[in-house]
Symmetry: D2
């Protein structure tokens, strides 16, 4: 009954096997390993982007910050959701790497609306040299709230960005969960929808720790490499990153794991529906559920052995009836039995 | 016959086993995993430093840059060898993380002399607010040239630093190779010799990619954590770093691997001695040999299947008699047979 | 009829005379001039702060950015008004100097409310190492909207900051205008109200270009000096900054000029009151008026020879009846006749 | 007898008059003043560069740092003299503005030799993504030692830079002194000699504090403006910078003042020649003399009322016969009588 985060679960056995297999003899370091050649081709095929530059990073924060730095000048501002990971959870990594700032766009259920983005963009850069200049748009799919932009919604946001000559970055820490939920192609969710660079997440979906950075305009590639190196993010024994990503992308493992995570989440959501104390804050769409319940109910669940985060208060201190929001996250490794155990506790 | 670098070899099977073992169920993320508790204790025990703060990083560049940033103000200058890795091989990562500059101290056989360090330090900060202020000393052990500072030499350098109120950092990418060559304790080579922080390398010595950052003054710990996070270097599935380091430090595996690497190097050096075309640039002390030979000889070796770096020219283009310097690096995984194969080629 | 900005008017003749007087023979450079000694004492006396560190800067942006950098760590966030100059008009100078970020507090009539500040502060630093840490509060007096915080309001904001261990900076580009409007002492509006550092403006109030940076905790002084130098803001012929500030502070010239600017503004406001097309957006308190009028009315005024900024639209393009906001700024050099000329135009 | 620095002398009366004249009524701020239009044209005419972008800055450090930042990427290294002002006297301002590093080229009598520059350049960027990449060359004319590069020497250095695709910056804090000594045109000493950007100094040559930044490639202009603004270096009451520079460039005042400074220096040098205790370290060429004399002689001169810097020791403490180096700097305002007074003291 561990629902705290999809970054706390195990890696898939096939990923571990790939690591073992890669650990033979000598391999060129710093990304020149042969496995990386295959990874590059696999990513290009998946994204239908034969010219894309493809790199690996060890963390989502690194992937986001280095990609954004490659797209942003220090006197610009990056437009993102007010609850974006790059705003709330990266301890100023984007500011560190870009030297720029963030402009926060309000969100509903985790998503920015085109009109709000438009309003924020048109509000910046109205002061000539005095104000921050317009930098890229960064959007997150799956959002921090577990919701998913439709392709139309992504297109609307990037259309607005393009109107102002801005590029778009997609923080895809849960890219696979979104893709499988939408049932579309990786190309449709990215460059066909106006996205220029992608943090293509693996860490939250069954690997040990690797993200791919996908850059559709190969002219940015060399700058990315230099920025990655000076950030301390170019791994010498790179084959161990490559091997993870290779296994992840082989035979659709990445999609299988995301489908499993989403299916468990759907099963969990179905089981929670109609419970008179717990209600969804918004309809779950991927592998995350935000639900509201009285403090006493959270306490009962946590004392009963469930592990998850209560987002807006201490479950153990305060009035028993206060409504608090809990977050449940599923990953590929969860079993139906595990979910049912939680549901039994909930309904028990 | 692969002697290009100790970052191109495989990880030790025990390290891989530890990874597999760590991949069970859920674990707290971001360094709160139980394995890290054990790693912290192991490092403290090895360094005889019960209060030391201990963190993990995925690359030596990251370990160096974040540690130095924690010790340096942006208006200071870091004193280091003119051939230091932080100067030559990190694409300005130290400048990026510290916002400061480096002052280069001349070296002989890879090592700074106390008098030269003294001279450089006394030359800085003689201009009040106008010039760079004195920041920390950073020294590298094993040096980039494969030579080793004696404990007396380290003490002399840190004594000079302390005279000026400066702290000292040790880039120990090949810490174990130095320790085993000197036959001293980790404490003797660090805090007992005036060193304040250590990049304690693992990557070049048989793990997949992990370095420990050891900070003897725990007051710097929280700043280190914040700087690591905003550098994108706090891993979510941290247990996989912890597991590598745990295996590395268990039952002296780290020392065994370094001893093996050094022993292979000594065997290689012995075999090369007296060869009339190849002569050592300086006496090998750890796991690196710099040797001089005519271009035609390098070409013969490389064509014969040996892999190593020629440092100062193209082995395939130029006059056959020009003397070029080759670098041979050994690691834990090399066999005596493999070494002998190279020696046969050399003498053949 | 020039109301575009108080940074477009002339310097006071006494300031020019002081410059001429200072231009005799040789003077120590970089702030060691004798005039600066007098300036330092004058500022300390005005602020009743005998230990304060006092420095000069050539621009308000520099004063703000260097002071904030001295108070902020790169992993923190600075709390400020959503319309603060440091947010909107400094092209990321605060981010450049501090490497940190800004958290925007909503404003009404240009002012932050304690509850909103409290809410923003408590919302940050709830994520341990992952989120931005709490840095200083920065507040602006006179605000960008020409309104003035009462002493109670300042105290309320700094009390909230202190609760969280945060320091407070005051952007006093129009410090004198606020002081004369409130009728309080400089000490009451700053350190007695919980303010730790002040950008004490001169440029908008009758000098050529000089701001004093006042730091009540002298322990921050040396860091300020280093940051000023590396920002390129330590003037060699510093006596020409000192002379301006000395004249500004002699015999209350600074207050006289602010009183004149405020009095002209009050006269202008009185004359505008009751006009059926132009209404105040909020009651003017210092030397700035924001008024709303139909586009056609703005066009008539501007065509008639008035110069001022229309904040939210093009006065020459659009429907004639749309209400647009104009900003009128007065300075010490304006005459009653000049104001009346505008009023005649308005009412004509 | 004040020879400490040319940044300690007065401004020329014509410059003061221009300030007074500029202080009439309202003027557009932030560089949009009419005087700046004239300054821009004057600079373009002087440099025979009708398309050059021209900006003003308040300090040489700012001019250097912002120009270099406009020419340098954060992962590059700037090649400059080991005694360059940007290395020794700017408290890491270049590193702050560029995020890059400096590579120091050895100097003789303050000047870099082409072969040494070539050697340093070819030594960098030999490590692919790992090492710093080649950034611009920065050279100083007049050098910090008071010597002057011939046009051939400048051409040789910039030729070497161009070979590697590098741009060149000229720190011309004493531009006029060099120009008048060489008897060439501003164009010949800059773009015709391969220089791309110039810090065109005024502060050390008779103004209060203003430098022009001249950028021959106007495509860099907008980036310069943004970097200047975010450095806090865009002055609101910009007309007071413009007015200084306008007076400086009118009727050859800038050259007259430099000629006067150089002539006084030559007179001083002539008077010192043949003195048996004081000998030149190198032949003076502009307005700076470095001379060697026993400590007791320096003490006698300083006690006798002369003011100048002793560069390498305390004139009041140490053995009387130790040879120390003194630096004498002349400026436009010195009289022959003043020089003679010093010579009388010297020979007395």
């Amino acid at each position: 009954m561990f629902f705290a985060s999809d970054n706390a679960g195990p890696a898939h056995p096939k990923v571990m096997e790939a690591l073992i297999a890669a650990n033979r003899g000598y391999a060129k370091s710093y990304g020149a390993d042969a496995i990386m050649d295959d990874v590059r081709e696999k990513v290009r095929t998946i994204f239908e982007a034969p010219d894309a530059a493809v790199y690996l990073a060890v963390s989502g924060t690194a992937a986001n910050a280095i990609l954004l730095a490659t797209m942003t000048q220090p006197w610009q501002t990056i437009f993102c959701a007010d609850i974006a990971h790059i705003q709330e959870d990266e301890c100023n990594a984007p500011e560190f790497y870009t030297q720029a700032k963030l402009t926060l766009v309000p969100t509903t259920n985790g998503k920015m609306a085109q009109a709000d983005l438009q309003s924020k963009i048109s509000g910046e850069q109205t002061r000539g040299v005095h104000g921050p200049q317009r930098g890229p748009l960064s959007l997150t799919q799956v959002t921090e709230k577990g919701t998913i932009y439709t392709l139309d919604e992504i297109n609307a946001l990037t259309d607005t960005a393009k109107e102002y000559g801005m590029k778009a970055h997609l923080d895809g820490a849960r890219f696979a969960n979104a893709l499988t939920a939408l049932g579309c192609s990786a190309a449709e969710m990215t460059w066909k929808a106006g996205v220029d660079t992608v943090s293509f997440g693996g860490t939250k979906n069954g690997v040990l720790g690797v993200e791919a950075c996908v850059i559709f305009d190969p002219q940015l590639a060399w700058e990315f490499e230099l920025r990655r190196k000076r950030g301390g993010h170019l791994m010498s024994k790179h084959r161990f990153l490559s091997a993870q990503m290779q296994a992840y992308l082989t035979d659709g493992l990445w999609l299988d794991m995301a489908q499993a995570a989403n299916a468990r989440c759907a099963h969990l959501a179905d089981g929670m529906r109609g419970h008179d104390l717990a209600s969804f804050v918004f309809e779950p769409q991927a592998n995350i559920i935000f639900f509201q319940a009285p403090r006493r109910e959270h306490k009962r669940l946590l004392d009963g052995g469930a592990t998850y985060n209560v987002m807006n208060g201490d479950p153990n201190a305060g009035t028993p009836d206060e409504l608090l929001i809990g977050r449940l996250v599923t990953d590929w490794s969860m079993t139906v039995d595990g979910i049912n155990q939680f549901l039994d506790l909930l309904h028990g």
